[in-house]
Symmetry: C2
Subunit: 258 residues, 2 copies
């Protein structure tokens, strides 16, 4: 495939000729970009092994050290996983390891585990203005709306609403959601070719309204943690809006500041 200009001075494999302010970037960043493209295009699928460092170095006509630095950054961003002696693998949501990267609600006592889902509602609708804005859609574009309750040990703890771009998640139905075990991100990745790689959350404390209180089997007015999440796939493209209400009587939201 495209070899990359093997020097770091002023050339740039990605720079378009005649661009007004060409972006100069080090060689390993360009390699990183090329590898990311292959990940995005599905040349190497989640869970699969990518070519070895030596092979990539040959392909791109750079040294192994340069490929190595590119992959180091991709590993730091959780796009790939390195395993000594085996190879480098495309990250996937079909792993216990990945599950708790996005589910931060853990029990006060005992070991974290994944909750059971019960779907309340799955339908297609026109994106309200606010949803459209956050998902980078036009107001009125088709979106898939999902509402569910999640329970730990049969104790309902999370009420969650999701809005997904209709174009991407065309065939998403309640049946397919019910059939599927595990985090929805696994389903999104396998069935819709859309892998979430990053998210931003805004967290507030709110009072439970009647309907949500009933779903959680608590009194209206109970304080709940409200997490509004926008998730992004490759190219910082937003592909999910999620609003979760967490009952934090026996669970808490865990966060490491570092």
């Amino acid at each position: 495939m495209n070899p990359v200009t093997p020097n770091q001075t002023t050339s740039d494999a990605l720079g378009a000729a005649g661009a007004p302010s060409p972006t100069f970037s080090p060689l390993y960043q360009q390699i990183k970009g090329l590898i990311t493209q292959s990940l995005q295009s599905g040349e190497w699928k989640p869970g699969e092994m990518i070519p070895s460092e030596v092979e990539l170095a040959n392909r791109f006509k750079v040294s192994q050290g340069t490929v190595r630095k590119a992959i180091d950054e991709l590993a730091a961003e959780n796009l790939v996983m390195r395993r000594q002696g085996k190879g480098t693998f495309v990250s996937t949501h079909h792993e216990a390891r990945a599950h708790f990267r996005f589910l931060r609600l853990v029990p006060d006592e005992g070991v974290p585990h994944y909750p059971e889902s019960r779907f309340i509602e799955v339908k297609r609708l026109r994106a309200p203005a606010e949803v459209a804005r956050l998902l980078d859609l036009k107001s009125g574009d088709a979106v898939v709306y999902i509402k569910r309750v999640q329970s730990f040990d049969n104790v309902p703890t999370i009420v969650e609403e999701l809005w997904l771009p209709g174009v991407i998640f065309k065939g998403l139905t309640a049946e397919r959601l019910n059939e599927y075990k595990g985090p929805m991100y696994g389903l999104f990745e396998s069935e819709f070719g859309t892998r979430m790689i990053r998210a931003q959350e805004k967290i507030r404390a709110v009072c439970a309204e009647e309907g949500d209180a009933a779903l959680l089997k608590v009194a209206a007015g109970m304080p709940l943690l409200c997490a509004e999440r926008v998730s992004f796939t490759y190219g910082d493209k937003p592909v999910e809006l999620r609003r979760g209400l967490y009952l934090t009587e026996r669970h808490h939201y865990q966060n490491d500041l570092s």
Copy 2:
């Protein structure tokens, strides 16, 4: 100073002779440990420049690349900051950049800024069992207790309680806190030689009790975000317990999942 065994095979500069299961670690990890010791001991103080990579390579009798990899990790952990052309500097809390690493509450609209503090109470007391456990002290050990209110644009928004090990924060008084402008972590770093480098938070939604509601000028029962934080300094030693109540009417707790 101590040169490090210049090969990576089975020797280990830190391994004690005769240890039952000696820990083998790569050379750059050992270098990282030695640099961390110098940071911890105050050989290089917050804000100061540490010796250049070449100088450290000479000191430790290793290649520059090995020192580089050690510093790369320290930079990733925010213990030092690299500045091209200038040098590598010990991180400090006396920077806008560091402030929002630990203060995650930001306004819904407008640019984040730092709140004003009003101290309600500062006293010494005997650590309750729970506090002692989290700070790795003995129950009944001396701790400094602080309670304050923080306001954004004269709107009280945060009620915060702190517990600090009495041995470390001996001369901490209300006066010194009032004199000091900016985040307390800056004061802790400069006046008490204790630098926070990492923290764990557990977040819940709670109802405001009478006293806290009065301080925040809201009705009792108002939902508040409760963040319990344990902060650590070098060697994963806990040196602060903090319990914050956040009013999230016009602010939210921001978190990036990546």
